[in-house]
């Protein structure tokens, strides 16, 4: 039964993109091997992108490739079995973080992460996805369904944060507006003070017309590759933005939340969204360029480096914005080598950071990133993704990097000149 569901889902995911990635397009040349942080950290031949992709490709080939249908042994094609499906759990959710570094280093551009995502979807259909990811996705949905229950508690918390905001800005008029109809911006944070207070300080300092969402930006349906849940979670924010008639939705520093709402949601809903979607990085970049906030880079005198979240950079296109901002708010910005499109995944992407039982594998996979950070000599690591932040904090502890991990908004607040 589970096998049948998995096979059915694999076929549902057989799009042009997956169809080409699953075809003879991969020439097995091995160019992608050293692009993968998991392979570089483990030196396990089974951890190369091509080896991982091949396990899924061979199942697709059995169903779609002429030679594989006639002589499966010739191409290594095989039917999906219960045993193999069980092995796919670690393959799809632990051993690949969907970072796409292999794609930009493949001469053919084989989209290995698309195959992994298809495997994830098959595992969801078979009921074999990591429970924690399912729970986190379900919690986000339940929060909307029970919004009234949460509202009072949420507003109470916001009032507390507002006090800190007023204190920091020395302005009793500073506010964190909720449910403000007609505001220009609907800001969507994550749960936690660190993605509310810094942004509230900056919005108030820039005299922005804004309101804050009741929901958090993260969308664990995406990590699951569960289209229905992804859509449902994204819909909460879309409905709120429509109800409040805002001009744009600004997402907090969260990699997958940005890629999901900015690029994937219109595809999920089959039409462009009726408002603009930006990351807070783009807003801060605009503030810096238009000098809407007064910043003093000497307040950030320690060496700073920036970690490109795979979702924001390689998948989202936000590569220069954070760099322009850091150069405006810090005195000593040092690039990791390589960076931008070639940046290494921190090791915690693709939802892996949430799965506690795989933390050893995650810390090992983060070794290339830890080495990169150490080489810069930076004392502060800025990253604009909460999952990356969590992972780099753990890398800091494990590999004794002696760094502080912060967000771009927090770095801005540090440099903010308050009259």
């Amino acid at each position: 039964m589970t096998l049948e569901a998995a096979n059915k889902e694999l076929e549902k995911k057989y799009t042009k993109l997956v169809g080409t990635a699953a075809s003879n397009m991969c020439a097995h040349c091995g160019w992608c091997m050293e692009a993968c942080h998991v392979y570089l950290a483990s030196h396990d031949p089974a951890m190369t992108p091509v080896a991982k992709a091949e396990r899924i490709r061979r199942v697709y080939k059995k169903n779609h490739d002429w030679m594989s249908q006639l002589f499966p042994a010739w191409t290594g094609a095989k039917k999906l079995t219960e045993e193999e499906l069980d092995k796919w759990v670690t393959l799809a959710y632990r051993d690949c973080t969907l970072c796409e570094r292999c794609v930009v280093n493949c001469p053919m551009g084989v989209e290995t992460p698309q195959l992994i995502a298809a495997a994830r979807a098959a595992l969801v259909a078979a009921g074999k996805a990591p429970e924690i990811l399912t729970q986190l996705a379900d919690m986000a949905i339940s929060r909307e369904e029970n919004a009234e229950l949460y509202k009072d508690f949420f507003l109470e918390q916001v009032k507390e944060i507002e006090k800190q905001l007023q204190e920091k800005l020395r302005d009793p008029e500073a506010t964190i507006p909720i449910d403000k109809e007609g505001a220009d911006i609907l800001y969507v944070p994550l749960s936690g003070l660190h993605t509310i207070l810094p942004e509230a300080i900056l919005f108030n300092a820039a005299h922005e017309s804004w309101t804050m969402s009741m929901f958090e930006a993260s969308n664990y349906g995406v990590f699951l590759s569960d289209s229905a849940k992804s859509k449902r979670i994204a819909e909460r924010i879309i409905n709120e933005a429509k109800r409040l008639k805002v001009k744009e939705v600004v997402l907090t520093e969260c990699g997958h939340a940005y890629t999901t709402l900015r690029w994937e949601a219109p595809k999920l809903f089959g039409e462009p969204l009726p408002f603009q979607v930006r990351s807070i990085l783009e807003v801060l970049d605009e503030y810096v360029r238009e000098k809407r906030i007064n910043l003093d880079p000497s307040k950030n005198s320690e060496p700073v480096t920036y970690h490109d979240s795979c979702n924001l950079g390689r998948k989202g296109g936000l590569l220069e914005e954070p760099r322009r901002v850091i150069n405006a708010v810090a005195q000593d910005f040092r690039e990791m080598i390589p960076n931008r499109l070639q940046s290494f995944c921190c090791g915690g992407g693709g939802g892996l950071v949430a799965v506690a039982e795989w933390s050893d594998a995650r810390i090992l996979a983060g070794k290339p990133k830890a080495d990169q950070i150490r080489k810069t000599g930076a004392k502060i690591v800025v990253t604009s993704c909460d999952n990356c932040r969590h992972q780099i904090n753990e890398l800091n502890e494990h590999y004794n990097l002696g760094i502080t991990v912060t967000s771009l908004s927090e770095l801005n607040v540090q440099a903010l000149v308050i009259p």
Binding site: K16, E34, P45, M108
Partner: protein, 217 residues
């Protein structure tokens, strides 16, 4: 060698084999085109056209891929191998259909361009056998494809340099066999390249990921 058979191998057989290849490729493309596709429909950040062009030309820019940047030798090897393959394919058309073009000098130039590819085939084979990472991903098709291309290169060189009816016949028989096999093998990877590079390139272009004008990648 019977001249009628030589003629058949050079002309009729080649046309049959090419027609076979084209028909099967058409079926493959038709099958791929029928699959659903969801493209980015959000407001663009960059240019989809620039992204597709960048994707098609990426391989010619060794500094754009870390894999090519770190291993320049492999990039050069990739280039030389594919130049040899292109010349070999060209030769299957020029020898029978444009014999006037195939002067002694042209034959030598073609042979000199194919020869490195032939030698590099052994390097590829050695790498596939010696590295555990390569062995793990290799199937009988990988070894057979590599060996058949080697045979195709070798016969091509011999037919170019030793212009006898025997070598020409051998060469064109091998070529025909090769053409019959290609649609079933990973040798057909180049057909998919044009599809995938367009899809991926468009996405990167739309999202402003690639090309990053004037920026190091």
């Amino acid at each position: 060698m019977h001249t009628g058979f030589v003629h058949f191998a050079e002309y009729e057989l080649q046309i049959i084999a090419l027609a076979w290849l084209v028909v099967l490729y058409f079926i493959k493309i038709f099958q791929l085109r029928r699959l659903p596709m969801t493209q980015d429909i959000a407001p663009t950040k960059g240019s989809p056209v620039a992204g597709v062009l960048r994707s098609y030309t990426n391989i010619f820019i060794p500094w754009s891929m870390e894999s090519a940047q770190k291993h320049r030798w492999r990039w050069a090897e990739f280039g030389a191998y594919h130049v040899g393959a292109l010349i070999s394919i060209l030769n299957t058309f020029t020898t029978p259909f444009a014999p006037g073009m195939m002067t002694q000098q042209v034959r030598w130039v073609f042979a000199i361009l194919i020869a490195p590819a032939f030698l590099l085939g052994f390097v590829k084979l050695a790498r596939r056998i010696s590295r555990p990472e390569m062995r793990l991903i290799s199937t009988p098709d990988d070894y057979f494809a590599l060996a058949s291309v080697e045979l195709f290169f070798f016969a091509g060189i011999m037919a170019l340099l030793v212009d006898t009816s025997l070598w020409r016949t051998i060469y064109f028989l091998i070529t025909a066999g090769f053409l019959f096999y290609v649609p079933f093998s990973k040798i057909s990877h180049y057909v998919y390249f044009f599809f995938a590079a367009a899809i991926t390139g468009r996405r990167y272009g739309v999202r402003g990921v690639r090309p990053q004008a004037g920026k190091a990648e």
